[in-house]
Amino acid sequence: MAKYLLLKHYRGGPKPHPNAEAQMDRWTPEEISAHIGFMGQVADDLRERGEFVDAQALAAEGEFVRYGGAGEPPVTDGPFAETKDLIAGWMIIDVESKERAHEVAAHLSSAPGLGGKPLHEWIEVRPFMVEPPVVE
């Protein structure tokens, strides 16, 4: 088994599919509910399969922060510029293979959007670091 982080982005990544171009505030409330319901269902299915580890959503606001030097306050940069790659949230899964991780990501990406059509949004798939093998 291997853990994968599935990252959902507000912005950034490769060129979006036409279905994923409209901002969510242009959807109907029912379409938003259907989308959120789908996401919840995916998490439940993963739980039932014994593959679910974690899921979290992030607020769109935030800043970059760094050390400002001894005795100085932290240096901040933000809020994020419109063009910046922006993470919306993640799901962590523990699955048998990379193929299975891709299958889950593709399923997440099929969530309904405007007009109930599949969004085809990009999901970033990143393997976790694992432990070193034993054999020398």
Partner: protein, 394 residues
């Protein structure tokens, strides 16, 4: 109260008794877990004279209770026909029967490991979940799905011992790689050794079972030296050999010798022989590489074309026939193979090509799949780069 260690020892035996009495595996397993919970609750009470008989009786009652609550009609039938016979519990050894059930080929390795730890190892679902770093609910689902997968399979005779060995090997590997777990948590490497010991006692004639146990002990003996105080991976050549467990090595070597005289060589015996030769060297320089290479040749005959074995053999070839001979073998392997670049870098440095080695260590670091490996490889690249281009003193 019954000692926890004893409880875990008794778990598979009690499960075996229930299964032989005709209980369905999943139901029997649940009943044994319930009985264990009751045993733990009785902590303040007197320890029974015969803990196994007590557990069998308790588990059998739990099984009957579950059957009763499932159906009132079943109550009458069960009460009449399935009342347990009095007297001591059976002594027959069901270890292989249970293990081959839990390591059934229909299960994925991860599910088989989880089910084995729960049903035969006697660990709680919470402990197994922590070992795998997943939520308890996820692990509970994984285990119950595994049981459902097995529900339709017949379960009278033990299955293939090879499938069991493979699962125990993977369990050990997973636990061993994880380093030192917290005191409260399950240590999968220790569990794998315990279960393999049980299996070896149950099928004493199988040299591959003994070979696998030897392999585990010969690796486990070096565990304390494998990571330094800050958690960084220490490669075999730089380990402090005084920290190796010599008693464990001696036991592993003795087991291996006993297996080899049966003259039925298998991959676990061959891997154990290689581990034993490393363990036997007083220092890295004194490693008997020619003999290790012979064992890699044997191993490759047993698992022809296995790329991991080919890669590891290339290191031995590098020590015996020179680094360039080893490098030629590495170059023939597929570029994406894990650790290929790291082995190539190691051989390239031994061949005196420090700049090339530094580049390959850096490339290997980029492809590393563990943080311990990443740190180790980055340091190798940094060491070589620093030697080539020393920074002026501040």
């Amino acid at each position: 109260m019954i000692d926890e260690h004893l409880l875990r020892e008794l778990t598979p035996q009690v499960l075996g008794v229930l299964v032989r009495r005709g209980a369905d595996f999943a139901a029997a397993e649940d009943a044994v877990q319930d009985a264990l919970v009751e045993a733990v609750r009785r902590r303040n009470g007197e320890a029974p004279d015969d803990p196994k008989a007590w557990l069998v009786t308790a588990a059998w009652r739990k099984f009957l209770d579950a059957r009763r609550s499932a159906s009132a009609r079943a109550l009458r039938e069960v009460a009449v026909t399935l009342e347990p016979p009095p007297g001591p519990a059976e002594q027959a050894d069901d270890t292989l029967l249970l293990l081959s059930r839990c390591c059934h080929p229909a299960l994925t390795p991860a599910s088989a490991i989880a089910l084995t730890l729960r049903a035969v190892g006697g660990l709680t679902t919470a402990q197994i979940a922590r070992a795998f770093l997943v939520p308890e609910a996820t692990m509970a689902q994984r285990i119950s799905r595994a049981k459902r997968t097995l529900a339709g399979e017949s379960f009278e005779r033990p299955g293939d011992v090879r499938a069991v060995l493979r699962v125990l090997y993977l369990m050990f590997d997973q636990g061993f790689a994880a380093g030192d777990p917290g005191a409260a948590d399950a240590d999968l490497a220790v569990e794998a050794i315990r279960l393999t010991r049980q299996l070896a006692a149950s099928v004493p004639g199988d040299p591959e079972v003994a070979g696998l146990l030897a392999l585990m002990l010969l690796h486990h003996a070096r565990r304390a030296a494998r990571f330094d105080a800050s958690g960084e991976l220490v490669p075999l050549a730089r380990q402090d050999r005084s920290r190796w467990d010599t008693a464990m090595i001696a036991e592993g070597v003795e087991l291996l010798q006993g297996a080899l005289v049966r003259d039925r060589l298998g991959e676990y015996q061959a891997q154990a022989a290689i581990a034993a030769l490393h363990d036997d060297a007083p220092s890295a320089e004194e490693t008997d590489w020619p003999q290790i290479l012979e064992w890699y040749d044997e191993l490759l005959r047993l698992v022809p074309g296995n790329p991991v074995v080919v890669l590891n053999r290339a290191v031995a070839v590098g020590h015996v026939d020179g680094p360039l001979a080893g490098l030629r073998l590495v170059e023939e392997l597929a570029p994406g193979l894990p650790r290929r670049e790291a082995v190539a870098a190691y051989l390239q440095e031994r061949a005196g090509d420090y700049a090339g080695a530094a580049r390959r260590y850096a490339a290997a670091a980029e492809a590393a799949s563990s943080t311990a490996e990443l740190t180790h490889l980055l340091k190798q690249a940094a060491r070589l780069n620093r030697a080539a281009d020393p920074r002026p003193p501040d």
